[in-house]
Symmetry: C2
Subunit: 205 residues, 2 copies
């Protein structure tokens, strides 16, 4: 089975359990003859994807009780990976969502780590420093640490504030960078696929 998650820039696939990242066109060229379950957040690709006879849009099958009408399908998929937890998807934006006993509790959207970098650089060349690990145990006393702390510490602080001892699941391109700041986070690049798989199991038990 192939699961496909079409993002704003690339396609993420689970091909018989192996994860691949491809340009969308290449994913179509390579797998158009296979049976594919997909989700898609990029309206530009909607027609091309739905035109493929053996591909099935899972959007309508991703039922997350308590969600809201415009909630992105990829966020719903991540939230369906486990029955409860804080779910973080750290890509071009960072989404943070809370699920308790299968019910969505709410969540929020942060800029992605790359967006923070661009933002600091645009404010002042002095703030154009590389993203590097920074200790959150002491207040910084250099500009570089001050920028890195300013990027990471507020993100970690708000996650801790809303956590309520729930398990913490982190996925996305910057998932590992964020997971490093927690003792007990589960970093898992397959969260979206697990959510899609769970939706399929519910549909065809």
């Amino acid at each position: 089975m192939i699961l496909l998650d079409v993002g704003n820039t690339r396609a993420h696939l689970s091909v018989d359990g192996v994860v691949e990242h491809l340009p969308v066109d290449e994913a179509i060229a390579r797998y158009h003859a296979r049976h594919v379950h997909y989700i898609n957040v990029n309206p530009h690709h909607a027609d091309a994807l739905s035109a493929i006879a053996s591909w099935h849009d899972l959007d309508g099958d991703l039922h997350l009780p308590g969600d809201y009408p415009t909630m992105g399908v990829d966020r719903r998929a991540v939230c369906l990976a486990h029955a409860e937890g804080i779910f973080i998807d750290a890509g071009s934006a960072i989404t943070v969502d809370k699920v308790i006993k299968g019910r969505y509790q709410g969540g929020f959207i942060l800029p992605g780590l790359a967006a923070y970098r661009r933002m600091y650089t645009a404010i002042s060349p002095v703030l154009d420093v590389p993203l590097e690990p920074v200790t959150l145990d002491a207040l910084p006393t250099t500009t570089q640490d001050g920028v890195n702390f300013g990027t990471m510490a507020p993100i970690i602080a708000i996650i801790n504030t809303i956590r309520d001892n729930l398990p913490l699941y982190i996925t996305g391109g910057d998932g590992q960078t964020i997971a490093r700041y927690f003792d007990d986070a589960t970093h898992d690049e397959t969260l979206v696929f697990q959510g899609m798989q769970n939706a399929l199991k519910r549909k065809n038990p």
Copy 2:
């Protein structure tokens, strides 16, 4: 007496106790014959300012024990306004600094609120929502609240995390927007000037 704080875009003045905001050129044209104590973070204006005979650069007089060599002169000025506290200057960047018994403890730099807006908009048109007050007591369940919570809640969370029951002083163009999220913050647009004034008093007691 005139106190002048030259920022990256504008000049902020305290003219005999009345605050004014002017383009730098206009501040020079209007007050070049007066006795002015200034600080300046904009290298483009350095020569023009130092060329005025009756104007005095206060940079070297702003002694903040525990500070670091490249710490901006405006941040040092804010930290000298009171003997201790958390000092927040919310402008194009948001600086958060901690001072205990007159000694600098460290601090960090966040993007300014306008930068957050630009950042969300650049990530996706869906995230182009107006900055509006949002409750931090419950997790959002709409995109607009999710973006506004994502902007404000991490900032408030990290300030609370490092606060240690210290008084909270907030200044800068977005100071009021941030102060609204605290029961006990002091919003004061004259913090920089108070710091400059305190430095002058120490120099000429």
